[in-house]
Every structure is written in structure tokens, then in C-alpha cells.
């Protein structure tokens, strides 16, 4: 009896340890999720290495990030992501302890504490017009001397105290046609020179007293001709400008306030000169000019005389000049040769003196070197050493020192533009799964540890060991497919045109490849599609993705298709398709015998092109030719057009894969009252488990699950601006649901006094959208559910049994739709960046909305909260069904932030993908940071948790079996002795 009791207790303990917890515990962080921090493509870099202590580099990036990086390891000490409209114009270090950033076109000046990144002060500067923004922080190591930061922006020159950000004086330069080009302050001088051009044809130099802001002197001189905007300041009293014909370099010197011009024909410097371009690096007494795809160095003599001193091939990146010992100035240049890059540091005054020459092996998939920043240090033998920070074409950041790459950061991942998922290869025979758990002993040890943990017997060391074991557990980062579909690849396309494959297990980069094209050097990637997803009969093929790109930024520029093998990351083929790409349409359900998906690409001429260009694909397409429709949205004109296929465009071109289309319907939004701000369709690969919804009163509602629905939101043109720019009477938001085959408007609802931006999500038969209500001064969320009425009579069981129903009849879009909508609105207390919805393999699991909030976190909200059937006092039956009593606002439950304590800085998008296990969905969020986690919206009802103790189960079974034998033996014995009594 005592034995049985003990066993029972043990069982209770075991059962309680298996109960699934819904929210995350502290020790579960990092088990299923990972988070990667990035900064983006570096624009400016300032080294801070003079002092003893941590060596760091301050960078500002194109993602509007200012960050301090550890020079030894490349880790982020601190970083700040400024808003999307707050682009950084300049960054520098003042007083040796503050990082100064100028942003928002020269209207926002901030100082950050160098060691920890705390903001010290922020000054908003007056801005009257768009202009260049220039930041000038005098190099001065003496702290006590009062000097000021000079900022030009918005037509004003400001002097700001570096200590507290106080505005000392400002000078108005907003005169008509006057453009300030350079602000120069010679060392140890109290005069600030402001050089500007009046109507691009007259140079004016103001001399301003740096203490008071008074104009001391003003000189001007007309130039016979016009200046182009390109300018390079070569010294404190000279600048070189390119004239508007781009063939003459003009040296402007303004010594002692006298302006003098000196013209030099570029053709006198190099023989076959074409259009010239002044390159950005600042070199003292020298400038770099790009002519005829070559870079030439032009030295500026004392009298403003120009002479060419060197020329380099085009593929050279150069740094600004850097003072090294003995008043010498050096600069670095990097050029490619095969798979190597050569870093050269030379003295500016004497180009033959090479201070450093290094060759470094470089990955081909990083492209060319884009930018170089150098910094010097004194070696132990008192000679100069150099380290170079280079930015590559794929936006990655590398530190080179002593002929090696010290560290690298994949900053391309900060600008992900499109994401898709891919499966990993199936495990081949011979690679055993058990390999991960080395031996049985290890396996048992591990489970004993887990057992101890779950019985609360573990010592602190054991807890650490358990945590470590969980983190590395059971091959979560293996490169093969697993049974539950937890291991997958996320394929991300970045703005630089690079493709990354990220492993869901630990977020590492499995492969990366930079797109190439025969037509142009670097096509820009537009979007990513699954091209070949083998299953069934084409298992031997590797899956592949299609990357659509174009050569150039214009939408009419020719498109490029690239096919990339998902397993290896190799580019299978790349083709220049010879027409533009406006819209790419994967054709649903159409695959050829090798499981390649058929795609239609629309060009600017209104033709569509079929891919892959094989006769088989053509055959498949011709069969369904009559039933293919597409639409396009002309957002600027407020027109949505629907098209049908017409014929092959054989008359115009010989291309048999090209088709003409005809216009079948149009929806014209009156331009004076409506402007399209958002359009959305359902995800094409979404699975809907059941078409019917049974309500509490045993009534059946049929979901209207057409794939051809388009959600459109329009606002009054006045209301298209920022929130609060209009009164409620002036703004209205109208939402539409449009059938994209016939152009019928199925649902139309106008919200008076509401305004965008609209963020929406469309899934199954419902749309949820988020907007601003100007009357209530709150954000609102509205849900619309669409139900089909044509099948509403199919409720009778007998009809179903006897087959007298129309559930299997084909549905035609040309039938008059009999549908009705239900909708409900709620207040939502937060501003939203993006909304997504979870998706699972079979669509059985209930859904959660994933709301990317303004705080860069992701909130999971049950779909049950946005259900139009919610009422104020649900009946008992409704409560049992899970209907939540209606409230006027949606709740934000702090535990339901799936990002827990992390932030996905600069959040732009959320992608969900189903795992094989029905309860689970993958969530991938991207912005400047990347975040991945696995979610189970209805808890993991179909599997045991990771920390389920198999050892405990095993021990229990063994103990039970043993107990059975023992008790059996005991009872036998007892019986025998009874009999012998």
C-alpha cells in the first residue's frame, strides 16, 4: 500500500510538470526565439581611439541609427534608432566626450554621452527652407576654451554651445537664390567663412565673427558661367567647383576676403575627358575627380593651379585624409583584384610614399568596396599602424587591421525588403538522428538532470547546466528537416540585392548570395517568390526561389529574374528578361511536372509574360487561359482596373509566352473626394480549415472564402496627411471589398471623421484594420467578417444526406453574390506599425493577430477579441463558445508581448509561416533588428513540451512494472503461506 501511494505521488508530480504554460517564463527566453541587432549601412564613421580604455567607432547609418561599436570585436556598445523621417546628416565628437548628431535636414542637433549613449542635450534649430545641411565641429582638445558647433541647415547658420546645446547666435541666409555651399573655420581663427552661390553664377563669401555672429565682411564676385552643385573644400581658403558643363574645374580662393577664380579645363589634365564628377573624399590640397570611369587625383597648388598627380581605375574606394605624425596627411584607397582587395595608405603630399599595402582575401558575395574610413595608431616600434573600416556593396561592415579581417557585421540584414520561407533538406540515410545525443549515458544523464530540475531538487549549478542544455538542445540548429517542421530557412532579400538564408533554430546565416545579372552590374531586388517547392514526384529536385529585380530604379527599366537554389544558395540561372516588371503574379495551383510554379509578369505596356518559358507551362496555361484574370491599382489616379487574357501577342512580337490583355472592369475613385491609401489581399497560400461557422443557436454561417477579394481603403485627399492636420468634418475613411474578377463592390463602409494611416490584415473571411478616429481622438480597430448566403439553406441534415445541397457546385464569380457582412469597432490604445496574423498548417488552430506596436514590440491578440459577434452581455451559451463580453477598447495584456523584453528596432514587417505541427507557427519580424519566435496560439495541444522528462516517464513505467512483479510475487507467497497454514 505504501508503495502504491508513493508511486501515485510520483505520478502526480510528473503530471504537474507536464502542464503547459501559456506565457513565457524567464528561463524560457531564447529557447525558441532569437534576436539580432543591426545598425544598417554606415554613412559616416568617427573613430575614438585617442584615450586609453575602450577603443570605439561612432557610426551613423542609412537606417537613421547612431551607434557606438567596439573596435576590437564589432559589438554594439550602444545605439539609438532615430525616426524614419529623422535622417542623419552628420556625426562628430565634441569635447572628447559627446557625440554630436545633426539630423532632419539640419534642424535637429543632439549630443549623446560617448561612453553610455545617454542623451545629453537636444536642440531644435529653426529651419525655413530645404537646403544642404552642414555640421562643423572644430577639432579642439582644450575643453575650457569656448568655441561653438557651427550648423548650417534650413537656410540658417547656427552656432551652438557644445556644453549644453544652447543656441549662441544664428544668421539668416534664406535670401532668394542663395545657396550656402561651405562653412569653413580655419584653426585658431575667430573668423568663420561662409561660401555660397547666388543663382549658381555668383560666389559670395561672408566673414562672420565666431563669437557674436556679426558679419565682418562680405565679398562677392560674378562667375562667367554657372556652377554645378559639386564642390570640394581642399583647404581652409580654397574650394574647387565643377561648372555646369562638367568640363571645367574652378578653383575659388578667398584669402583675406578677396575672391579669385582660376579655371582649369579638365581636358588639359587628362586626354580623353568626358563628363567629370567630383568625388566626396576630403583630401587636403587635393581632390579626386571621376572622369571617363577613372579616378584622377588633382593637386591644388598654392596659387590655385591644378595638376594631375595620379589616376586609378574606377573600382577604387577612397577614405578622407587623416593627419598622421609630423604634419603629414595620409589617405587610404581600396581596389579589387580577383577575389582579393588591396588596401593602400599613401601620403597625400607624396603619392609615392606608401605607408601601408595589404592584400586581403574577400568573399565574392560581398561585392565591391563602397566606403573606407581609416584610423591610425602608434605601433610598439613607434611607426604608424592603420586600421580601416570598410563598407561593402552588400552593406556589410568590416574592420581590416594587419592584413586580416578582424570582425565583420552583416548590416545588409538591417534593410530586409522581402521574406519567404524554405524547407531544409530531408535527412539522408546514414546520418543518424541519435548522433546528437552522443551516448545513452549522456542521454540518461541529461534526463536525470531535467528530472532533478522538475522535482525542484537541482542545485544552482545543475540549473545552469539544464539551461545550457536546453539552449543547445537536440539539434535545433541542424541543417535537416525535422518531424515537427520547426527547423526551416527564412530567405530574406535585402535592399542591397543580397539574399540571406537564416536558420530558424539559432538565426545564423546558412548561406548568402549577392545577385548578379548579365545586363547590369547590380540589379536592385524587388521581390521574392517560391519558384519550385518539390513534393510528390519531384523530390530529387532542390527547391528554389525566384528573385525579381530590375536594372535601375525606374519602374520601366528592364527586369532581371534570378533563380536561387535554396539548399546551397547557388544561383542556378539568371536572365535578363528584356521587359519591365510592374507586377508579378504567382498563378495559384499551377505547377508543371518539376513542380515549378507558373508566374505571370506584367510589364508597363500592358502585356503579361508567362514564366517558366517552357512548352509544358504554356500548355498548362492555355488550358486555363479563359479563367485567368488580374488587376492593377493605379494609386495616383485612384483607379483600379481588372483585366482578362485576350490573346498571344504574336502580332507584335514573336514571343509566344507573351499575352495581351483587355480591360474588363474599372473602379474610378473621384479624385476630389477619395485617395487610395492601402490595398490588401489574402495570402495566396493560406489554408482555411472549415468553411462553416456554427453559432450558439445551432445556426450555421458559411464563410465567404473567395480568393479574389481585394481590400481597399481610401481617405479624403485632405486627410492623407499627418494625423491632426484636418478637422473631423473634412476627413472620411472609406473601405471597400472588391471582387477582382468582376469588379463588384461587395462591401463599402465609410467612417466619417477618421483618418489613415490604415494598417490592415486579411485572412479567411475577415479583415481587421486600424486607423485614427479624429472625433474620439483615439486609434480604432474595425473587424469585418463576410458570410456567404447562397449556401445558407444547406442547414438541413436531410438535404446533406440526400445530396440535395449546392456545396459541391462550382462557384462562379459571375453569379450575383449573396453575402452579408458583420462588423464591429473597438478603440485600440496604441499606434501601430504593421499587423500580421498567425498561420498554421491546416488552419485548425485559432488565430492571433500580431500587432507591431509603435514601441517596436509585437503584441499577440487573440482573434476572439475582434469578433463582431461580441455583445455586451453574452448569454451562457455564447460564453461557453468563447465569446468575450464586448468592451469598447481592446485589451493590451503585458504578458502577450511575444517579443517579451526585446525591441525589434525600426520594425517594418512581420512574416508568419506554418510549421508542420498544427499548433505551431513561425513568426519572423524584421526592421533594423531581426526577431524570430515560434508561437502556439492555442497552446501546444498536439505535442509534449521540450522540457518533458522522458526519463521520468521511463522510470515511472519501470517502477510500475517492478511494483507489479513485486506485488505479484508477494501475493503468491502470501497465498502459499495461507494455503500452508
Amino acid at each position: 500500500m505504501a508503495m502504491a501511494l508513493r508511486l501515485y505521488l510520483l505520478l502526480i508530480v510528473f503530471v504537474s510538470s507536464a502542464i503547459v504554460s501559456f506565457s513565457l517564463y524567464e528561463d524560457q527566453v531564447g529557447l525558441m526565439d532569437w534576436h539580432q541587432r543591426y545598425i544598417g549601412k554606415v554613412k559616416h564613421a568617427v573613430f575614438h581611439t585617442q584615450k586609453t580604455g575602450r577603443k570605439r567607432v561612432i557610426v551613423s547609418t542609412e537606417e537613421n541609427v547612431v551607434a557606438s561599436l567596439d573596435l576590437r570585436h564589432g559589438e554594439i556598445f550602444w545605439r539609438h534608432v532615430l525616426g524614419t523621417k529623422d535622417a542623419i546628416d552628420g556625426v562628430d565628437i565634441a569635447l572628447g566626450k559627446y557625440v554630436i548628431t545633426l539630423s532632419s535636414e539640419g534642424s535637429m542637433l543632439r549630443a549623446w554621452n560617448l561612453p553610455d549613449g545617454q542623451m545629453v542635450w537636444e536642440t531644435s534649430l529653426h529651419s525655413a527652407q530645404h537646403s544642404k545641411s552642414l555640421l562643423s565641429v572644430p577639432v579642439n582638445l582644450k575643453f575650457d576654451k569656448d568655441y561653438s558647433i557651427l550648423v548650417f541647415g534650413g537656410g540658417y547658420l547656427h552656432a551652438v554651445s557644445p556644453i549644453d546645446g544652447e543656441l549662441l547666435w544664428k544668421k539668416d541666409f534664406t535670401a532668394e537664390g542663395f545657396e550656402v555651399q561651405r562653412v569653413l573655420q580655419p584653426l585658431e581663427s575667430s573668423i568663420v567663412y561662409v561660401l555660397g552661390f547666388l543663382h549658381s553664377s555668383e560666389a559670395i563669401v561672408y566673414q562672420i565673427d565666431s563669437k557674436s555672429g556679426e558679419v565682418v565682411a562680405e565679398k562677392s564676385k560674378a562667375f562667367p558661367g554657372r556652377f554645378s552643385g559639386e564642390i570640394s573644400a581642399v583647404s581652409n581658403d580654397k574650394v574647387v567647383v565643377l561648372d555646369s558643363t562638367r568640363s571645367i574645374l574652378v578653383t575659388i580662393s578667398f584669402v583675406d576676403g578677396e575672391i579669385s577664380f582660376q579655371k582649369t579645363l579638365i581636358s588639359s589634365l587628362v586626354e580623353d575627358s568626358g563628363e567629370a564628377e567630383i568625388l566626396s573624399p576630403l583630401l587636403s590640397n587635393m581632390l579626386a575627380v571621376k572622369v571617363n570611369k577613372r579616378t584622377i587625383f588633382v593637386r591644388v597648388g598654392d596659387q590655385g593651379k591644378l595638376e594631375m598627380v595620379d589616376s586609378l581605375s574606377d573600382e577604387t574606394a577612397m577614405s578622407d585624409s587623416l593627419p598622421v605624425a609630423d604634419d603629414q596627411v595620409a589617405f587610404a584607397s581600396v581596389h579589387h583584384e580577383g577575389s582579393k582587395i588591396h588596401l593602400t595608405v599613401k601620403l597625400v603630399d607624396d603619392l609615392d610614399t606608401v605607408l601601408l599595402r595589404e592584400s586581403i582575401q574577400m568573399d565574392q558575395h560581398r561585392g565591391r568596396v563602397d566606403r573606407v574610413f581609416i584610423n591610425n595608431y602608434i605601433k610598439t616600434d613607434r611607426s604608424n599602424g592603420f586600421r580601416a573600416l570598410i563598407v561593402m556593396e552588400d552593406h556589410s561592415l568590416l574592420l581590416l587591421q594587419q592584413g586580416a579581417i578582424v570582425w565583420s557585421r552583416e548590416e545588409g540584414l538591417a534593410s530586409v525588403t522581402d521574406v519567404t520561407t524554405a524547407e531544409l533538406p530531408v535527412e539522408k540515410d546514414g546520418v543518424s538522428v541519435a548522433k546528437v545525443e552522443h551516448t545513452l549515458v549522456d542521454w540518461l544523464k541529461g534526463h536525470i538532470l531535467k528530472l532533478k530540475g522538475s522535482l525542484l531538487l537541482a542545485s544552482p549549478e545543475d540549473v545552469v547546466a539544464i539551461q545550457e542544455m536546453r539552449m543547445k538542445s537536440s539539434g535545433r540548429s541542424k541543417l535537416t528537416r525535422d518531424h515537427n517542421g520547426f527547423r526551416k530557412l527564412f530567405i530574406a532579400l535585402t535592399r542591397a540585392g543580397k539574399l540571406f538564408a537564416l536558420h530558424t533554430g539559432d538565426g545564423r546565416i546558412v548561406w548568402s548570395t549577392l545577385l548578379n545579372s548579365p545586363a547590369c552590374a547590380r540589379p536592385s531586388g524587388i521581390s521574392l517568390y517560391q519558384w519550385q517547392v518539390p513534393h510528390h514526384h519531384a523530390m530529387d529536385e532542390n527547391p528554389s526561389v525566384l528573385v525579381v529585380g530590375r536594372c535601375g530604379s525606374d519602374s520601366s527599366s528592364p527586369g532581371v529574374l534570378s533563380f536561387v537554389d535554396v539548399y546551397t544558395g547557388k544561383e542556378i540561372s539568371s536572365s535578363d528578361i528584356g521587359h519591365s516588371v510592374v507586377q508579378v503574379m504567382p498563378l495559384p495551383l499551377f505547377t508543371d511536372s518539376t513542380e515549378q510554379r507558373l508566374h505571370l509578369i506584367a510589364d508597363t505596356d500592358g502585356h503579361v509574360h508567362l514564366y517558366p518559358k517552357t512548352p509544358e507551362a504554356l500548355g498548362i496555361f492555355q488550358r486555363e487561359f479563359q479563367n485567368v484574370y488580374w488587376y492593377n491599382v493605379e494609386g495616383d489616379d485612384g483607379i483600379i482596373r481588372g483585366h482578362g487574357m485576350k490573346s498571344s501577342c504574336a502580332g507584335e512580337t514573336a514571343d509566344e509566352y507573351c499575352f495581351t490583355t483587355r480591360e474588363l472592369w474599372t473602379v474610378v475613385f473621384p479624385s476630389e473626394s477619395e485617395k487610395i491609401i492601402s490595398t490588401l489581399t489574402r495570402k495566396p497560400n493560406e489554408v482555411v480549415h472549415t468553411q462553416a461557422k456554427v453559432s450558439t443557436d445551432q445556426d450555421v454561417l458559411y464563410k465567404y472564402v473567395s480568393r479574389n477579394l481585394l481590400f481597399v481603403a481610401t481617405v479624403s485627399p485632405k486627410g492623407a496627411g499627418e494625423i491632426g492636420s484636418v478637422t473631423p468634418e473634412e476627413s472620411a475613411l472609406v473601405v471597400y471589398l472588391i471582387d477582382t474578377v468582376t469588379g463588384r463592390i461587395l462591401h463599402r463602409l465609410s467612417h466619417q471623421g477618421c483618418q489613415g494611416p490604415v494598417h490592415a490584415v486579411f485572412s479567411e473571411n475577415w479583415v481587421v484594420y486600424h486607423y485614427f478616429n479624429l472625433r474620439a481622438h483615439k486609434y480604432e480597430v474595425t473587424v469585418v467578417e463576410i458570410y456567404d448566403q447562397s449556401r445558407a439553406e444547406n442547414k438541413n441534415v436531410w438535404k446533406l444526406v440526400l445530396g440535395k445541397h449546392n456545396l459541391t457546385a462550382p462557384i462562379s464569380s459571375y453569379s450575383r453574390p449573396e453575402m452579408f457582412t458583420k462588423s464591429q469597432s473597438y478603440f485600440f490604445p496604441q499606434s501601430v506599425k504593421t499587423i500580421a496574423v498567425t498561420s498554421t498548417a491546416k488552419g485548425i488552430t485559432s488565430k492571433q493577430l500580431l500587432i507591431g506596436t509603435i514601441g517596436d514590440q509585437i503584441l499577440a491578440l487573440d482573434k476572439r477579441f475582434v469578433d463582431p459577434r461580441r455583445t455586451l452581455n453574452p448569454s451562457q451559451a455564447e460564453k461557453e463558445e468563447g465569446i468575450i463580453p464586448l468592451t469598447d477598447s481592446l485589451p493590451i495584456i503585458p504578458q502577450s508581448y511575444i517579443t517579451h523584453s526585446l525591441k525589434v528596432e525600426g520594425l517594418r514587417g512581420i512574416v508568419t509561416a506554418p510549421a508542420k505541427l498544427e499548433s505551431t507557427t513561425h513568426v519572423f519580424a524584421y526592421g533594423v533588428d531581426l526577431f524570430y519566435t515560434r508561437l502556439a496560439p492555442s497552446k501546444t495541444y498536439d505535442s509534449l513540451t521540450d522540457d518533458f522528462s522522458y526519463a521520468l516517464l521511463l522510470i515511472t513505467i519501470v517502477a510500475l512494472v517492478a511494483a507489479i512483479y513485486i506485488t505479484w510475487a508477494l501475493s503468491e507467497k502470501k497465498e502459499l503461506s495461507e494455503k500452508w497454514r
Binding site: Q626, I639, G644, K646, R662, E663, L664, W665, T666, V667, V668, F669, P670, S673, E674, V734, I738, T742, G743, R744, I745, R748, L749, S750, H751, Q752, N773, R775, A776, E780, T782, Q789, S790, A809, P810, I811, S812, Y814, S815, R816, F820, T821, K822, S823, S825, Y826, F827, L872, L886, T887, D888
Partner: protein, 267 residues
């Protein structure tokens, strides 16, 4: 079903059916919130004016040609908005030539397309609102057609065009018995979203009244404790049978015991 009724009311459908060459009309108001007494408005000649705009059709890829005329009253509201009311439609019948073309369309299961000017006040505006339907969807007894014209003020936003009922797929080739149109037209304007209700007061009230919440009806003793009673009953029954068995066993056992004793003695 009850919930559907307001839906239909809100959409302010006006159905007018007209036979070919004749036109009936049932004017209908757009969904304006402050519908004034219609008599007054109609008698005010300044705010009303008549507009005509034409329906054009095309067979397959042919050019558009006139096919009918809509006429309506343009009503100007004091707040500056304009709406169309009292829509009439007169449909031109098919000429013999058009009949042949339409038969070809039916054979090829091709599109019959119609269009309306997007701006009815000064037609033709810069854009037309186009709709199309597979020709085989139209023929019933006659030619059934159904227009739903979505209006935004005096602008036509979109037109839905098709037959009145379902269009079965696959579409069968069928010639109409009568070459006359049976037209239905509906003017639709936007529905207003209801204001988001605010319940703070109710919720507060609900909290105050919480004490008065009716206790759930008392369950019967059996309903409450059946899960305990059944096992108890089983245990009792078990015990009773065991007790009776025990009594039997005891007598039998005693008998057996004496036998053993006896046999032992015999040894």
C-alpha cells in the same frame, strides 16, 4: 436572418424593372442621413436639375457604342453635396446586326462589356467605369441584366453588371427566347459606419451592481454531488457483497479448518 434586414434597408436598394423600349422608374434616395421631406425638395426647382448619361456597350473587343440612356435628377444639398435620385433607364434593343454579334459572343463564351461615364454631370468625363460579364450569363427567357451603380456624390464609382441570379459554371450555350432586355437598376451609396460605442459608464455601473448579480439557481443535491455519490454507492455495495461473502467464507473456512485439523489429527 433578422440581422440581414437592416443590411438591405441600409443599402437603400431601389429596384426598377423595365421592359425593352419602355422604361419605368422608381426613384430612390441615396443613403443620406438627413433625408429631408422629399416633397419640399422636389418642389424646389433651384436645387434640382436633370442629368442624362448614356450606357455604352461593346461585344468582345469591339468598340463601345450607345446602348441606352440613364436619366436622373441631380439634387444639390445645402451642405454642398450632390446626389442622384429618381433614376430612369431606357434600354435600346439589339439591332439585327447586334443580335448576330451577340450570338457569336454566346458561342465563344466571350465578354459583353458595358461602360458609364464616371462623372455624370459633365459626361464624358476623363474616365469611364467599365464592367463586363460573360455573355452566356445573360440569357434566361429574355436577357436578364442587373446594374448596381455605386455612387459617391454625383460620381459613379463603379458599376456591377450581371444577370439577376446565379450563373452556373460550366456555362451552357443557350439562345434567349426573347430578344428583349429585362433590366434592373440599383443606386447604391456608402453605408455609414456606426460610431464605436463607449461603455465606460455601463462598466462602472456594472461594477457597482455586481453585488446584486443574481446567484445562479441552486442546483439539486444530486446534481451537485453525483460524482461523489456514485463511487460511494459502489464502495458501499462492494462492502455489502464482501460482508456477505465474508460471512459465507467464514463458515466455509471454519469448516475447512476443522477438516485440516481433523486430517492432522489423523496423521
Amino acid at each position: 436572418m433578422a440581422k440581414l434586414t437592416p443590411f438591405f434597408f441600409l443599402s437603400f436598394l431601389i429596384i426598377s424593372s423595365s421592359l425593352a423600349f419602355q422604361s419605368d422608374e422608381f426613384g430612390l434616395e441615396g443613403a443620406q442621413q438627413q433625408t429631408p421631406t422629399t416633397r419640399k425638395r422636389y418642389s424646389d426647382p433651384d436645387s434640382d436639375s436633370k442629368v442624362h448619361f448614356s450606357l455604352e456597350h461593346a461585344f468582345g473587343d469591339s468598340d463601345f457604342s450607345p446602348a441606352g440612356t440613364f436619366s436622373a435628377r441631380l439634387k444639390s444639398w445645402s451642405h454642398g453635396g450632390k446626389t442622384l435620385t429618381k433614376l430612369r433607364f431606357s434600354r435600346n434593343g439589339f439591332s439585327d446586326e447586334e443580335k448576330d454579334t451577340f450570338k457569336n459572343l454566346l458561342k465563344g463564351d466571350d465578354f459583353y462589356r458595358i461602360r458609364l461615364p464616371s462623372n455624370v454631370i459633365s459626361p464624358p468625363g476623363k474616365e469611364f467605369v467599365v464592367a463586363s460579364v460573360r455573355a452566356r450569363c445573360l440569357p434566361r427567357d429574355g436577357l436578364d441584366e442587373h446594374f448596381v451603380i455605386h455612387m459617391e456624390g454625383a460620381n459613379v464609382l463603379a458599376v456591377s453588371y450581371g444577370s439577376l441570379g446565379a450563373c452556373q459554371y460550366p456555362r451552357q450555350f443557350k439562345l434567349p427566347a426573347k430578344w428583349s432586355f429585362n433590366s434592373h437598376t440599383i443606386l447604391k451609396s456608402s453605408e455609414q459606419a456606426p460610431r464605436t460605442p463607449i461603455f465606460t459608464e455601463e462598466i462602472l455601473g456594472g461594477e457597482n451592481a455586481e453585488g446584486e448579480v443574481e446567484p445562479p439557481p441552486e442546483k439539486s443535491f444530486w446534481a451537485k454531488y453525483w460524482m461523489y455519490l456514485i463511487p460511494l454507492g459502489l464502495v458501499v455495495m462492494n462492502a455489502v457483497t464482501q460482508a456477505t461473502n465474508m460471512a459465507e467464507e467464514q463458515t466455509g473456512g471454519q469448516a475447512g479448518g476443522s477438516q485440516v485439523q481433523q486430517s492432522a489429527r489423523r496423521r
